[in-house]
Amino acid sequence: MILFAVGCKEETTIDDRKCPPTGTKLNYDNFGRDFMNDNCQTCHGKHSSDRNGAPSSYDFGTLEGVRDHKDRIFVRAAADNTTMPPGPDDPPEADREKLAEWLVCGAP
């Protein structure tokens, strides 16, 4: 009962956002690679020494790996979704907004 009372925050999905009409200036080289390296690759890297239980299929070391899971990455880490990376030390809100824009524009 407690769970249903307080635990039902609606997440923002990739379908809730639109790519700007002029497109995005963000791409893998100037944003995506660094964001994923700084926040995700400790557990989601192909050569991570300790994945901390992250499923092996969730590998974000390449652009293709990110594109394959961009819907789930969005729901967990972009915009106002904050459940990844785990713990109270989160990336800045501005970076999450950039991640949202980059993903919703197709992760160029």
């Binding site: 407690i2 769970l3 635990g7 925050k9 997440e11 967990r76 459940t83 990844m84 785990p86 109270p88």
Partner: protein, 179 residues
């Protein structure tokens, strides 16, 4: 020293009771070693008490924690040592703990897997739990004692994939049924 002995004598149950089945439930609130984290859960305890003194028991909690918007499932198997001061039954409990933590979005994404602890995004951790509490017998039936209680409790997880410590307190209502 004499006062300590008197105090300990008061704590020891005065009559050796039969084996009892214990059932209790109640809300629990905790903080954790993660900054700004708070958790609310519902507890359920099932136990078997021997000689009115010691029980083996299973305690589970299902709840919600604020950081990472996560569901926390606490499963423990432990032992509780009881004393008696009138209607009060102070106790200390030690337990082995297995805990699942998963964001609510992971539960929504895979409710079946989450229910059985095998879905993506679930962190499984083992640790140790403890509690200090007191039950108060508020009514006696022919074979059953009805009680309310409260405790302070905590748990420690060596695995760093989540908060290392949880600490808090809970309220209980339940019954002990003599076999």
């Amino acid at each position: 020293m004499r006062w300590l002995l008197v105090f300990l004598a008061l704590l020891v149950p005065t009559t050796a009771g039969a084996t009892e089945i214990q059932v209790a439930s109640g809300p629990n609130a905790q903080g954790s070693s993660w900054r700004g984290d708070g958790a609310l859960s519902q507890s359920l305890k099932l136990g078997l008490r021997f000689g009115d003194l010691v029980s083996i028991d299973a305690l589970t909690r299902l709840g919600y924690a604020t950081v990472d918007d996560r569901v926390v499932t606490y499963i423990s198997l432990g032992s509780t040592l009881y004393g008696r001061i009138g209607i009060a039954r102070p106790y200390v409990r030690l337990a082995l703990v297995h805990q699942h933590e998963e964001p609510t979005s992971a539960v929504k994404n895979d409710p079946f897997g989450a229910t059985f602890g095998v879905g993506d995004g679930i962190r499984h951790r083992g640790g140790f739990g403890s509690a200090l509490g007191c039950d108060f017998v508020i009514a006696k039936g022919q074979r059953a004692d009805f009680l309310i209680g409260l405790d302070v409790n905590g748990s420690w997880f060596p695995d760093p994939r989540g908060p290392s410590f949880y600490y808090g307190g809970g309220l209980w209502a339940g019954m002990n049924y003599g076999l």
